[in-house]
């Protein structure tokens, strides 16, 4: 079955989704909306998001900045459209709750958020190894996700808290938190340091350090950074039976390197103690299939009623709540934000 799709927000992400839908073959993109329409996209372009509904789409792809996401998602659900929305799911957990309330009124519709990192091949492999019990109980996780700011950092809407909800943590670190939640399900304790080091005149964090513990005792540490200067993704999972690491992540920019999975199972000595530096298996992934798998899951959910496993609104709420807890756990940061908000008023 071919789904008629309209894309609201036809920037970088909207165009990535468009290409993924073309590769899938189960979609017909009938219209797109953006502030810039002076180019040939091969489909009707418009600036008024309400006009896309004139093309009678079955599904809406919401690829707009964070502050617009709740309105676009809720409107689409109200009009009876299935929705695929980019992350982060709004600016805060209240935004997610609002979308979940709209979702609850239309249980026959699919709402999925684009946390595509779960679909990366190395991550899927890691999940198989953990879930299948091959590695034994999970002890702790380390995640580093960072970059070098970006062009027009100070002017970018992503770094305006009124539009984005926060800085590097909510923009990029949220992916790592989503993966942590996939492996550990939830955290009962959160500690953090949230900092502004380089772009001191920009009212969002450029670094966030978080230490979390799940009710089962799994400890996770995150460093999300905009001042790392080299693009880097590292996820390490240490278990009773060995370890898994993912170094690099295939991305649209291609700047985070090849995606390399390393897996090692412990070798034991005669007394049953692990011998240091076990043999590890390295698998390199060079093709980013995450966009295609994500689109395929959405298509299956809409057409065949298959459950959405990655990017549910519950997962969106969980990760957004965790982002807020990390911000809140650093009282210095909370005070700074409150001061900024007061000055803005």
């Amino acid at each position: 079955m071919t789904l008629r799709a309209a894309i609201i927000g036809y920037g970088k992400m909207g165009q990535i989704r468009h290409r993924a839908m073309e590769r899938h073959g189960g979609f017909e993109v009938v219209a797109a909306c953006d502030t810039h329409t002076g180019f040939d996209a091969g489909i009707p372009l418009m600036t008024d998001p309400m006009q896309v509904y004139d093309y009678d789409p079955d599904v809406i792809f919401c690829c707009v900045p964070n502050m617009m996401i709740p309105d676009v998602v809720c409107e689409a659900l109200k009009r009876g459209k299935h929705v695929f929305s980019e992350k982060p799911p709004g600016r805060n957990s209240d935004d997610v709750r609002r979308m979940r309330a709209a979702e609850a009124t239309r249980p026959e519709l699919v709402l999925k958020f684009g946390f595509n990192h779960r679909f990366h091949d190395a991550i899927e492999n890691a999940r198989q190894l953990i879930a299948g019990g091959t590695m034994g109980d999970l002890y702790f996780m380390r995640g580093v996700y960072g970059k070098a700011g970006g062009a027009n950092y100070a002017q970018n809407w992503r770094n305006d808290p009124d539009q984005s909800g926060g800085g590097i943590l909510i923009d990029q670190g949220i992916h790592m938190l989503d993966l942590f939640l996939m492996f550990a399900e939830g955290f009962s304790e959160v500690q953090s340091f949230v900092q502004r080091k380089f772009w001191t005149d920009v009212p969002v964090e450029d670094n966030a350090f978080a230490l979390m513990k799940s009710p089962e005792g799994v400890v996770a540490s995150l460093h999300s950074s905009a001042t790392q200067w080299q693009h880097k993704f590292i996820l390490e999972l240490y278990t009773r039976g060995g370890f898994i690491s993912v170094n690099g992540i295939l991305s649209a920019s291609g700047t985070y390197g090849t995606e390399v999975l390393n897996v090692a199972l412990n070798r034991l000595d005669q007394d049953g103690n692990p011998i240091p530096n076990p043999e590890s298996q390295e698998i390199r992934f060079t093709e980013d299939r995450s966009w295609d798998k994500e689109i395929a899951e959405f298509h299956d959910a809409v057409v065949h009623g298959a459950p959405v496993l990655c990017g549910t609104s519950q997962q969106a709420l969980d990760v957004m709540t965790l982002v807020e807890r990390i911000y809140a756990a650093d009282t210095d940061w909370t005070s700074q934000r409150a001061g900024h908000a007061a000055r803005a008023v």
Binding site: L129, N262, L265, E279, Q281
Partner: protein, 330 residues
């Protein structure tokens, strides 16, 4: 299809070649000579066991005892004439029986234990990754238990939650009948062919037997020598790993893949996890001072341990190490 790299510490060069292995080579050469002199053993000429290319189109690799060719199409190295499987099995069984006990004890050393663990972990990780929907509860080991007597003991100590069945080398007038019978009577979830395909007079028949008699979805773990390895590329028949009786077939990656796919197997995983190419080559060039190969002789004489490790990993990543592993699915 996955192409994993197996990263581990390099062994000391001193452990790579020793008096024991020289004795081993001489014993094998003697056995092969006896087989050649025995007028009752039938021999037959053959084409490349990998891609099937006629041997007239391949170059000579060695004339040591029997002619070996290197296939110009797929790079597989192979004995151009081989004995029938039954007398070959009888010879192997006799040589194993003659092996001194001290040899078996030495085999139980830590290096070998690491290799055993590597094989067992390979199966565990592939089991998780292959997503066949069922655990590999029963594994059939075909003959590695005979080739390496310490193996069953290691399996008993180290293999967790998995049943193992060992099918040792048993000379029979009807080769492969024992394998076909076992596959039918006790169908395994996986078959391990570790260091067996090199020694087989008819590797196609061995793989065909498994394909015909194992249930659909059975995984076949194959570990064998690799003709694409740098050791073979540089040293050719001088390679210390080239023991004619044990290396009737040294498949290339391309050649073995062609054979497996031609028999209807799915190839799930290919790797060349060898750890020894770099240290073997260093030992060769430092021991034989007159050996001169452009670039390589100087490289290996000057390389430190760190450089050797980097090279070995690069060889693995390039599928250019002297050992290869395949995971096939029936």
């Amino acid at each position: 299809m996955y192409t994993p790299v197996f990263i581990d510490e390099l062994p000391d060069a001193s452990t790579v070649s020793s008096r024991k292995s020289e004795l081993y080579r001489l014993t094998r050469a003697r056995g092969l000579t006896e087989l050649l002199l025995d007028g009752t053993t039938p021999w037959h000429d053959r084409a490349c066991p990998g891609c099937g290319q006629d041997r007239s189109q391949s170059g000579n690799f060695s004339q040591a005892l029997i002619p070996f060719h290197r296939c110009s199409h797929c790079n597989t190295i192979y004995a151009a004439k081989v004995p029938a499987q039954a007398p070959l099995d009888a010879l192997r069984a006799r040589l194993q029986a003659e092996r001194p006990e001290a040899h078996a004890e030495a085999d139980a050393g830590s290096r070998q234990e690491f290799e055993f663990v590597s094989v067992l972990n390979w199966i565990r990780l592939t089991e998780a990754r292959a997503a066949t929907g069922r655990p590999l509860a029963q594994v059939l080991d075909y003959r590695f238990c005979s080739e390496n007597p310490a193996w069953p003991g290691a399996v008993a100590r180290l293999a967790q939650n998995r049943g193992w069945q060992f099918l040792p080398l048993a000379p029979d007038s009807e080769p492969l009948a024992d394998l076909a019978r076992t596959l039918r009577q006790s169908p395994p979830d996986a078959v391990l062919l570790n260091a067996e395909l090199d020694r087989s007079a008819d590797p196609r028949a061995l793989l065909q037997t498994i394909r015909d008699h194992a249930p659909e979805g059975t995984l076949v773990f194959v570990a064998t020598s690799c003709a694409d390895g740098l050791e073979y590329e540089i040293l050719g028949a001088d390679s210390p790993s080239f023991v004619p009786l044990d290396r009737l077939n040294v498949f290339s990656v391309k050649g073995f893949e062609a054979l497996a796919r031609g028999l209807g197997y799915d190839c799930l995983e290919i790797s060349t996890p060898g750890r020894l190419d770099a240290v073997i080559l260093q030992r060769y060039f430092t021991e034989i001072e007159s050996a001169a190969v452009p670039f390589w002789s100087g490289f290996f004489r000057e390389a430190d341990r760190d450089r050797l490790r980097d090279l070995q990993i690069l060889l693995q990543r390039s599928l250019r190490s002297g050992v290869m592993r395949f995971v096939l699915k029936t």
